[in-house]
């Protein structure tokens, strides 16, 4: 099972052009990153495209990883989530087949993947709990599904400007809590 330190080593070696390390990194992390792409895009073909973009970017950018200060999984997940949401925003009509997407993918997690995220989950959850529940839901919707302000406003049944004002205020509060 790959540890965080293993993954960090794989990224650093990938940054030196080591293709074997790149393949190991892919094995250890692709199920997580594919999961990110699938959840955001809710469409298998698009998620596969996004996953390709993610690892192309990881290969190209790995040499800069050592100096960017990110922990390894945060960096990988951030790259994947941003690319997936870029793709989501680029398309016109949303796909509606999340059930299909998951049904097709009935392989369970492998041991390598049990890796990764043993992070301070309690902290973000605890900090979100300090917010108004509607605002906390909005933060989760934006992070996990790539919702836009329009999506969030529609769901909460408020004007978009109201949602933005709420969320900006809540984000300032959230950052204060996370920095404690």
């Amino acid at each position: 099972m790959a540890t965080i330190a293993d993954i960090e080593g794989m990224i650093l070696r990938t940054g030196r052009g080591d293709r074997a390390a790149f393949s190991l990194l892919y094995e250890a992390t692709s199920a997580k990153l594919f999961g990110v792409c699938l959840r955001v895009l809710n469409n298998r073909a698009e998620a596969e495209d996004a996953l390709q973009d993610v690892y192309v970017k990881v290969w190209q950018k790995a040499s800069g990883y050592a100096v960017n200060g990110y922990s390894p999984m945060t960096w990988l997940i951030t790259v994947a989530r941003n690319l997936a949401i870029d793709k989501l925003r680029a398309r016109k009509a949303p796909a509606k087949n999340i059930e299909d997407a998951y049904d097709l993918a009935d392989n369970g997690p492998t041991p390598e993947m049990a890796v990764v995220q043993k992070s301070e989950r309690a902290q973000i959850d605890g900090c979100l709990d300090e917010l108004d529940p509607t605002h906390a839901d909005a933060v989760r919707g934006a992070y996990l599904m790539g919702d836009t302000y329009q999506d969030l406003a529609d769901r909460a049944g408020v004007p978009i400007n109201t949602m933005r004002t709420w969320l900006r205020r809540s984000l300032a509060k959230l950052k204060g809590c996370l920095s404690r």
């Binding site: 199920a31 999961g35 596969e48 950018k61 300032a172």
Partner: protein, 224 residues
């Protein structure tokens, strides 16, 4: 280590919105331009990304199909990598070693600042060029992973800046798949959000200063 307290409250929320991907395209681009020149803003973004990441525990792991990795390798290393003969392999190694000597410092030096990237590709991916622009050195490193100019023709690289009336030539692409192209001083700030395009041109490049042949591939420049 930068702490949130070093930043004004508007920036703290703005960076949070950026991290959540809530800014619209224009706001996002404007923010990325600031981000490129402001290390403390990048540190704040990292704090936000690290803060949010445990929400990603909720992304269920799903094993991608094997074709995904083959496609990635083909995009990065070319489709023929596994089929080299020994002789071709030795020759390729010599070429790579020579290239590494000349362009390696540009391609593989650890960048301190942000990198801009573009995947300049034909719709059917018969021509694919990965471009990386380092604003610190104002050099575009290109890696052509598929396609080439036809005999007696060349590929020319064009910059189409946001809102610009016409493409500007960045020069004829060298024959080698790995190469670098310097970006003129006055175009450096126009790179982010611009589009890079490749056209088919006569030897020596377009005689008119505008693309004369078919536009074969295009891709937008994004912040990596």
């Amino acid at each position: 280590m930068t702490q949130a307290g070093d930043h004004d409250k508007d920036d703290i929320s703005l960076v949070g919105e950026y991290a959540l991907h809530l800014l619209d395209a224009g706001e996002r681009l404007a923010f990325e331009k600031r981000l490129a020149g402001d290390p403390s803003l990048r540190a704040l973004l990292r704090e936000w990304d690290e803060g949010f990441v445990s929400l990603a525990d909720q992304f269920e792991e799903v094993i991608p199909p094997p074709r995904a990795k083959s496609a990635i390798d083909a995009r990065l290393f070319g489709p023929a990598t596994a089929r080299f003969s020994l002789r071709a392999g030795v020759l390729a190694l010599a070429v790579v070693a020579a290239l590494a000597f000349f362009v390696g410092p540009v391609l593989w030096n650890t960048p301190d600042g942000p990198l801009y990237v573009a995947d300049i590709a034909a719709q059917d991916r018969t021509l694919v060029v990965e471009a990386t622009f380092d604003p610190d050195t104002a050099v575009i490193a290109i890696n052509r992973t598929a396609g080439a100019a036809t005999t007696g023709r060349v590929l020319e690289l064009w910059l189409i800046a946001e809102g610009a009336p016409a493409p500007v030539s960045l020069g004829v692409m060298p024959e080698a798949p790995l190469a670098t192209i310097a970006v003129p001083e006055d175009l450096r700030t126009a790179m982010l959000g611009a589009t890079l395009a490749i056209s088919d041109e006569p030897l020596g490049g377009s005689p008119t200063g505008a693309p004369t042949g078919a536009v074969l591939a295009a891709g937008s420049i994004t912040l990596l």
